[in-house]
Symmetry: C2
Subunit: 352 residues, 2 copies
Amino acid sequence: MGEFPQPNNIMLSAGASEAIRAVVKLLVSGEGKDRAGIMIPIPQYPLYSATLSEFDAVQINYFLNEDADWSLGTEELQRSIDEARKHCNPRAICIINPGNPTGQVLSRQNIEEIIKFAHKERLFICADEVYQDNVYAKGAEFHSFKKVLTEMGDQYADQELASFHSTSKGFMGECGMRGGYCELVNVDPGIQAQLFKLVSAKLCPTVTGQAVMDVVVNPPQKGEPSYDLFMEEKSFVLSTLAEKAKLVADGFNSVEGVTCNTVMGAMYSFPQIHLPKKAIEAAKKQNLSPDAFYATHFLEEAGVCIVPGSGFGQREGTFHFRMTILPPVDKIKEVMDRFKKFHTKFMETYSD
Amino acid sequence: MGEFPQPNNIMLSAGASEAIRAVVKLLVSGEGKDRAGIMIPIPQYPLYSATLSEFDAVQINYFLNEDADWSLGTEELQRSIDEARKHCNPRAICIINPGNPTGQVLSRQNIEEIIKFAHKERLFICADEVYQDNVYAKGAEFHSFKKVLTEMGDQYADQELASFHSTSKGFMGECGMRGGYCELVNVDPGIQAQLFKLVSAKLCPTVTGQAVMDVVVNPPQKGEPSYDLFMEEKSFVLSTLAEKAKLVADGFNSVEGVTCNTVMGAMYSFPQIHLPKKAIEAAKKQNLSPDAFYATHFLEEAGVCIVPGSGFGQREGTFHFRMTILPPVDKIKEVMDRFKKFHTKFMETYSD
């Protein structure tokens, strides 16, 4: 292990998704009580649940703490793995930092706790760090799992880790390029060779995606001709994201029956909506989850598309939705106006 | 079914490889004697063997007839499936036309026979047609499985088929774009919906690849500004491919101990080399297959890189290699000169 990347430990991929799937595949085997279990956050990005289902692995849920800015409590991690060990073989923990759909940015201390937990439980760490360049809330800072692990000293020097990055999700936002990479840390060379063999059978990711990934990790440097323009665009994107993140969270929190954590990074808000019984019953009649019922009404009545929280997972009996903060500031203001009107009317219609 | 494509039956993919993997995945299930078997040609493009091994399906080999221009004999297909039925459940037949690594182009009659065989045996047809635009031998013509199937009448109107195409392999040769598509014919709508769901979890293929795929299937038309230049470049590429295909096959056939079928399409020659016993023994001593031993010597002594036939599969006791015909004419001439010198010296060294 070393702080600087070892080129042979890095593989390029068609977006982060492909690399995540390849690494998860590596971790999956066994039947019955030995069937591989993979810990994933709830709420999560559905790539994880879909991949585990496709590969026939056990999905082990750990819940992010909504009351503490969607952070990861080690008590909850422990509860989750202890329960899972009764019926499967936990092999890995996936962490999405900054969070999708939750927008949290993990503190350095929280990352240390997670590494200690993974090390104690002999879990492979999958660090989905595709939003690492989109951190904008005051005081929030991105710490990579690899860096923290490296600085934790020899005791943890055998901790296995894969870190994923992408061209799609930073402030550059080049989603259509399908560029990405995965860096492997402390992975057994024999296993790593098998992974590279597996990936090679699918040939290379797109050449343009590879080139864009190169630009993402090697942005213009001071003194280079495009540096000033690059910095101008970068600060514009990040400062308006910060502005919109605040607009959206404040907007949601100003409405009765809605609560929203500070959006620190990534590009989504994930507010909780407290739905009246009547709305929940009306949803049931239409064979919809209550949040999908709410989202459908918001789309049809106000023309705004949000994603129901049930697609990402949420604690039973709670309802959320994911809303992107990507549109321009004036559009976001308009969206929040429409939301307030819609929500007030919805609550009146379905009040108990 | 209809002769014109139904947009809803077409899915874009990151090169043909990804779509082939997704469709094969759909066909795989079962244990023991019910374990899915997939028929593939030998020699084959190793994506197939690698994918079947990864998905834990049974690889059912059918041998192309080297003595009849690498065509598919239905007797051999029948032998292959009858044997396979003893220990697995044959579900599909994969055909590569034009062939890789063998360069043959199937006649219309041969395709009809294969369709009749697949229909009788209730096999899904995977038609790998990525080389469809690279057919240049006199008298050879590309017939798509879909077109032939459509014209065979109602009796075969329920035959399931997937056809694959790519931006990488035509005369345009845009490999790095990773564009491709798959057209599904007569696939059960419920199954097709599952396939699209499976593929969607991995998000879209690269946008540039999608755009290039569009250009491949909609080339400039007469009267359009770029038509003349396009046709000039197209005929240049195809006529030089034809010239090189002939140069290479004639060159191989002029050397003792080497035989090569006419290269009708795609971009490779696949000559057979008749190796002396001494060479085979020398290879064994180095723990190499005899064709790999030969290829290593050719690379080291003459600076030309070929791929041993054992990577593609070949009848036991026969040895081949794949050599691309892509370099410019003068380079190909130089390569054939080097080959003749190398081969003569090799045969002298290892003559019995």
